[in-house]
Symmetry: none
Subunit: 263 residues, 2 copies
C-alpha cells in the first residue's frame, strides 16, 4: 500500500486530494441543510431528516479523517511525490458504511410512513443485511492486492447486497404504490437512486479485475469512485428524502382542516 | 504497558485504531440524535433525553481523547509498529464511566416516571452504587498485569455491581409492571439491555484470566470489547430510551383531550 502511494503522479495525487476535500465540504454542507430543514416539515418526518443529516454528518467526520490520513501519508514537495511511510487508513470508509448504510435504508423506510410494526421489522431486516454486507466486503478490501481474496469476500458480500436490492424492488413495491400521487414518483426515484448508487460500489470494488489494473491507477479509481458514489448515495439521496418529507407535510396539512392556519 | 503496545501486529493496531474512531463517530451521532429528538417528546420526558444525550456526549469526548492518546503512543510506519514511549492513558475509560454510568441508571429511572420521591431515592442509591463499582474496579485495571491485584479489586467491584443488578431485577419489577402496555415490553427490554451490556464489562475485565492471555491479544480484546460494550450500553440503550419517551408522549397526549388540536 505504501509503495503504491509513492508511485502516484502529481496529477493523480491532486485528484485524490481534492476529491477528499470536496467530500468533506459537501457532507458538512448537506448536514446543515437537512437539519435546518427539520423546522419545515411536520412532526412525522422530523426523524427522517434527523437521520438524513446524521448520515452526512458521519460521512463528514470520516472524509475529514480520510483527508488528513492521506495528507499525512503522501507529500507533494517541489513537484515530487513522496510517501512518508505513515499508514493511509483505508478502513475509515468501512467504519463509515457500517454506521451510515443501515441508516440510509431507515431514512427511506421512515419517509414511506409504513405501519409502526412494518417500520421496525423492515428496518431491522434491511439494516442487518447492510451491516453484514459491509463486514463481508472489508477483508477483501484490505487484503491490499487485486487478487483472489478480494474476489471471494466481494462475492460473499454480494449475497446480502442482492437481498437488499430484492427487498427494495419487490418487498417494498406495495408500500410505494400506496404513497400519495404527489410523491409516488419521488419515492420511486429515491428507491432507484439507492439502487443505482449502490451498484456503483461493487463496480468500483471489482473494476480493477476487469482491466487488470494494479498500482496507482487502481488506487485513484477506487478512491475517486467511492467518493462519487458516497456523495450520490448520501447527499443527493438525502435531498430527495428532504423533498419527499416537505411535499408530504404540505399535502397532509392541507388535507386536515384542523391544521390550517386561521383565516 | 508501553512494551505491550510495541508488540501489536499491524492488523491488531488497525482493529484498535478503527474501533476508537468508530466509537468517536457513533457517540457524536448518537448525541445529536437524542438532543434533536427532545423536540418530539412531551415535557415530562425531555430531561430523560437530555441525559441520554449527555451520556453519549461524555463518551464522545472520551473516545476522541482515547483515539488521540493511542495515536500518539503507537505509530504504524513503513508497515512496522513502533511504540513512541508516550503513555497511552487507560484512565479515560474510568473517568468516563464515573460520569456516565450513574447517568445511565438515571435515564432508565426517569423514563419509568416513578413518583418524585422514588425517583430521587432510587437515583441516589443506584447512582452511588455505580460510582463505587467503578472506583473499586480502577486499581485492578491500571495495575497493568493480569494478576492478583486485578482479581481482588475486580471482585470487590462486583459487590455494588450485583446490588445494582438485584435492584433492577427485583426492586424495579413493580415499577415495570405498572408501565402502560404499549411500552411495557420496551422498558423490560431496556432493563435487560442494561444488564446484558453490563455483564459484558466484568467478562472483558476477567477474560484474560480464563485464557491465561498476556500482552497484545489481551490488550486488543479489552479495548475492542469495552468499545462494543460502551456502544451497546450507551447508544443502543439510548435509542430504546428515546423510543419509550416518544411512545409514552404519544399515548399520554392522545389520552388527554385538552392536548388534542381543536376541531
Amino acid at each position: 500500500m505504501q509503495e503504491i502511494l509513492g508511485t502516484l503522479s502529481p496529477d493523480q495525487y491532486g485528484l485524490v486530494y481534492n476529491a477528499f476535500s470536496f467530500g468533506t465540504a459537501a457532507f458538512a454542507a448537506a448536514t446543515l441543510f437537512f437539519w435546518m430543514g427539520r423546522g419545515q416539515v411536520s412532526r412525522e418526518y422530523k426523524t427522517a431528516l434527523t437521520i438524513t443529516g446524521l448520515v452526512t454528518f458521519i460521512a463528514f467526520y470520516h472524509y475529514f479523517r480520510i483527508f488528513h490520513s492521506f495528507d499525512a501519508a503522501v507529500i507533494l514537495q517541489d513537484g515530487t511525490i513522496e510517501a512518508t511511510g505513515k499508514e493511509f487508513n483505508r478502513a475509515y470508509r468501512y467504519v463509515d458504511w457500517l454506521l451510515t448504510v443501515p441508516l440510509l435504508l431507515i431514512e427511506l423506510i421512515l419517509v414511506m410512513r409504513l405501519s409502526r410494526s412494518e417500520t421496525v421489522s423492515t428496518s431491522v431486516k434491511l439494516g442487518g443485511a447492510a451491516a453484514l454486507m459491509i463486514v463481508l466486503g472489508y477483508p477483501g478490501e484490505v487484503s491490499g492486492g487485486i487478487d483472489q481474496t478480494r474476489l471471494i469476500w466481494g462475492a460473499l458480500s454480494m449475497i446480502p447486497f442482492l437481498y437488499i436490492v430484492y427487498t427494495l424492488f419487490v418487498g417494498l413495491s406495495g408500500a410505494i404504490k400506496r404513497q400519495p400521487d404527489d410523491v409516488k414518483g419521488l419515492v420511486t426515484l429515491a428507491r432507484n437512486v439507492t439502487l443505482a448508487s449502490w451498484f456503483f460500489y461493487p463496480i468500483v470494488y471489482f473494476f480493477p479485475f476487469a482491466f487488470d489494473m494494479e498500482g496507482s491507477s487502481s488506487f485513484v479509481l477506487i478512491e475517486v469512485g467511492y467518493t462519487i458514489a458516497d456523495i450520490t448515495a448520501k447527499a443527493v439521496f438525502g435531498v430527495l428524502i428532504y423533498t419527499i418529507a416537505v411535499r408530504k407535510s404540505e399535502a397532509e396539512q392541507s388535507a386536515d382542516p384542523a391544521l390550517q392556519p386561521a383565516e
